[in-house]
Amino acid sequence: MPVFRWGNAWDAFRDLEREVDRLMGSMDFTLQGVRLGRTFPAVNLYEYDDHYLLTSELPGMKKSDLDLSIAQGILTLKGNRTADDVPDSSYRRSERYRGQWQRSLNLPDRVMEEGLKAELTNGILKITLPKAPEVTPRQIPIQEGGE
């Protein structure tokens, strides 16, 4: 009769794995309030009666640094955030995002792409997306099937 069985040994590992996962999941690694290491740029979407409002924090971005496009219900924001022209060795601290970034967002359905408006002020991007008028449900006539 085997004293050591692999099957049970792995079970113990699985238990450990689960335990570690649980522990990690319960921990909050983010420094409270510090906006570090997040997806850049962060995006919010709000729904109004007749439109959606998409906002994004893009500090330091100018209109010319930003590229917006929309196709097949996907809105793509693209840009490049250049750092100040100083050698890396001069940095004492570097928390701000730099470099190329891109985000593609699935738009809620029924948005009028032509009516889209965007404005960028003080590093905040606001995009207004008008909702398409509600389509009235179409009745499908049902014919009685013959014998």
Partner: protein, 135 residues
């Protein structure tokens, strides 16, 4: 280790009193860069949504505090369908050393990015101290 400018992680300090205290406001610590340049140390902070009127930059004793108010630009009480960030004010403070010339600190705000230039204090010429001969 250089310590002319030491960022503090203390958002729970006494906040500049907002106009309407009944209003619940969020406070965030903005990400910053600090680098050395010919002009001195440069502090760069991301303050999206902060305008010049709503930005306070203060040096008191050896503490530099930046506080930027963000006017709410999203609907009150309406939860976002999808929210990745909260809209609130920005606060961060730093300890300055005597190496920084407190009088010549200058700042610029551009597209929601603040740049503060902290020139190094010029070291005075060595002064000769006269020694009187004792009796």
């Amino acid at each position: 280790m250089n310590n002319e400018l030491v960022p503090q992680n203390n958002p729970e300090q006494s906040l500049p009193s907002p106009g309407d205290s009944s209003e619940q406001r969020l406070m965030f610590t903005p990400p910053i860069d600090i680098y050395e340049s010919e002009e001195g140390l440069v502090l760069v902070a991301d303050l999206p949504g902060v305008t010049l009127e709503n930005l306070e930059l203060q040096v008191q004793d050896n503490k530099l505090t930046l506080f930027g108010r963000v006017n709410r630009y999203v609907p009150e009480g309406l939860m976002g369908q999808h929210e990745e960030y909260g809209v609130g004010d920005f606060l961060r403070s730093f300890i300055l050393s005597d190496e920084v010339d407190h009088e010549r600190i200058s700042a610029k705000l551009n597209h929601g990015v603040l740049r503060v230039i902290l020139p190094k204090a010029s070291r005075g010429e060595p002064r000769k101290i006269n020694i009187d001969e004792g009796e």
